[in-house]
């Protein structure tokens, strides 16, 4: 391993502050293009394989149609507005469940990570619930919440909440004790300690949990929508699968993958922003 060179990112000074926070900075953009350039080849190989394998008969084309055919089906579904309608519904369900999970898990995780008594009291319960498949709870959800939206949202909530919770706890526990000591010496209230010391330290871990949670919420929408839904991308996939319309089925799955992929990178960008201080801390080090 030889020395890494400083990567120059020539940014006009101060620009970052003038720009609304939600817009990526030029250097972020530049880096994104760099990342895409490097990341694309592997993806292209995968895509090529998908196209070629069924065509050459390596894999049965009836059940695994070539990419081009899937994309054609996707095109049709987009053109007819079908996809947009169903995706909208599914995303709403996943988003509500996920946001509920964030709202519940992060405060709970902060408390469980910080106060060992609180953790000990609740940990068994949390671990029991966490280790109970949501599949198993489905009848319970239905009995309690019915088969309407509430149940579907409960499932996406349940799918995400433990990822966020566990990673928040881990994040809290890995805060440098010296920083807590320093903060406490400055008379920081418990509330400020959470907001200003523990949370910033725990962000990377929490975001990792959120990335897992987003994916899980999204996937569980499929499961939830197979349960008595007449709309949503899960319904669409299920229907196509039943009818052995594999091109439409994979079109739906591909759509979900792309959505998950985009959300993932949105979270990664958020994390990069939130941990700017950490980025390339060993710049110039090999």
């Amino acid at each position: 391993m030889t020395l890494a060179t400083d990567k120059s990112t020539d940014v006009p000074p101060r620009l970052w502050w003038n720009r609304p926070a939600f817009l990526p900075s030029p250097s972020t953009l530049r880096q994104a293009i760099h990342t895409i350039g490097l990341g694309l080849p592997a993806l292209l190989v995968l895509a090529l394989l998908w196209e070629v394998a069924p065509r050459l008969g390596w894999i049965n084309a009836i059940f695994f149609p070539p990419l081009s055919q899937v994309l054609a089906a996707l095109g049709d579904m987009i053109a007819s507005g079908l996809l947009a309608r169903h995706i909208g519904i599914s995303l709403e369900r996943a988003a509500v469940g996920f946001l509920l999970a964030v709202v519940v898990a992060i405060p709970l995780g902060l408390l469980m990570g910080r106060y060992s008594l609180f953790e000990k009291l609740s940990d068994f319960l949390v671990q029991t619930l966490r280790n109970t498949s949501q599949f198993a709870l489905l009848p319970v959800f239905i009995l309690v919440l019915g088969i309407g939206e509430a149940s579907k949202i409960a499932i996406t909530f349940y799918a995400a909440v433990f990822f966020l919770l566990i990673n928040t706890i881990v994040g809290v526990k890995s805060v440098d004790p010296l920083h807590i000591k320093a903060a406490r010496s400055m008379g920081t209230s418990d509330w400020d300690l959470f907001r200003k010391v523990i949370l910033p330290s725990a962000v990377p871990s929490i975001v990792a949990g959120a990335r897992l949670g987003v994916k899980s919420s999204l996937f569980s929408v499929i499961a939830a929508e197979m349960l008595a839904a007449q709309s949503g991308i899960g319904y669409l996939i299920q229907n196509a699968s039943l009818m052995l319309e594999t091109d439409r089925m994979y079109a739906g799955i591909l759509t979900l993958t792309v959505i998950g992929f985009l959300l993932n990178y949105a979270l990664v960008a958020f994390e990069a922003q939130a941990t700017r201080w950490r980025a390339s801390e060993d710049k110039g080090l090999a």
């Binding site: 010296l178 920083h179 000591k181 320093a182 903060a183 406490r184 010496s185 400055m186 008379g187 920081t188 209230s189 400020d192 200003k196 010391v197 910033p200 330290s201 941990t275 201080w277 950490r278 801390e281």
Partner: protein, 278 residues
């Protein structure tokens, strides 16, 4: 009334499973660090604390700061037993303890922020203290982008920014170059003479201890007690030149005398005289 009263403070650390220490010939899993520290500090007094490395100076500051609970005895500020960090106490740590996710300015703003000082006011104040320590232009730098000495100066600025009544400083100038150190010593005295904060200052430099103090407290080797308390009767304000005075030299000898035996004790089983086998 005394601002700080330390009464028979003892502290014993419990070692982790599997660790042990040999005390008086038999193994134990508890290590006594402070064994009855008594110390009264007047309001506005400037105390310097010297003692061998590992004697328990940092632990004592932690106890005064309300960050560590003594095993027995207590520390009190203004007659109230310390059980948690006191609003009017500020602490400069031996290891800087800056928040790496905050810039220099945001680090200095931090204690003002948690006290609810408004955005504009705290920014002005923080900038003032940064400039006081020669860090103008480095406000938006993260700690990892600052040199060791600069980080330590940010930490001092942070402690002073709240105008604390009790200021605990653990070797704050150890990472500074000689002249900066001299300047900051003088500057600290000047500030202190205006606000008459009560200061407890740990240092390894005997010169620094004498130059700054109203009173030098010499600690024994671990388990530590107060060995000697030396009043420094040098006129104030003090000039750097005072170090060449005969009176200063006399103090130097006295502190050295008090310390020598303790340091020797602390090094009892050092193998420093052993031959080096390369």
């Amino acid at each position: 009334m005394n601002r700080i009263a330390i009464s028979d403070v003892r502290k014993t650390f419990q070692l982790k499973p599997g660790q042990s220490v040999v005390i008086d010939g038999h193994a134990s899993d508890r290590i006594p660090v402070l064994s009855g520290v008594d110390l009264d500090i007047r309001k506005g007094e400037f105390i310097t604390l010297v003692g061998p490395s590992g004697s328990g100076k940092s632990v004592l500051l932690d106890i005064i700061a309300g960050l560590t609970e003594p095993s027995s005895g207590f520390a009190a500020i203004d007659g109230h037993k310390v059980t948690r960090p006191h609003q009017e106490t500020a602490y400069v740590f031996q290891q800087y303890a800056l928040f790496p996710w905050r810039t220099a300015l945001q680090n200095v703003e931090y204690p003002l922020e948690v006290r609810g000082v408004g955005r504009a006011a705290r920014r002005v104040k923080a900038q003032h203290f940064l400039s006081l320590f020669g860090l103008t232009g480095f406000e938006d730098r993260y700690p990892s982008q600052l040199s060791g000495g600069m980080q330590q100066r940010v930490a001092i600025a942070r402690a002073l920014s709240t105008d604390p009544e009790v200021l605990l400083m653990d070797e704050p100038f150890a990472a500074l170059d000689a002249q900066t150190r001299d300047i900051l010593q003088s500057e600290l005295l000047r500030i202190w003479e205006q606000i008459k904060t009560t200061v407890v200052f740990v240092t390894h430099s005997i010169d620094e201890a004498i130059f700054l103090a109203d009173r030098i407290v010499v600690m024994t080797a671990r388990p530590a007690r107060v060995k000697e308390s030396i009043d420094v009767d040098l006129p104030r304000p003090r000039d750097i030149e005072i170090r060449n005075s005969a009176a200063f030299n006399a103090y130097r000898a006295r502190v050295w005398d008090a310390l020598r035996e303790e340091v020797r004790k602390a090094q009892q089983d050092w193998a420093l005289a052993s031959a080096y086998n390369a």
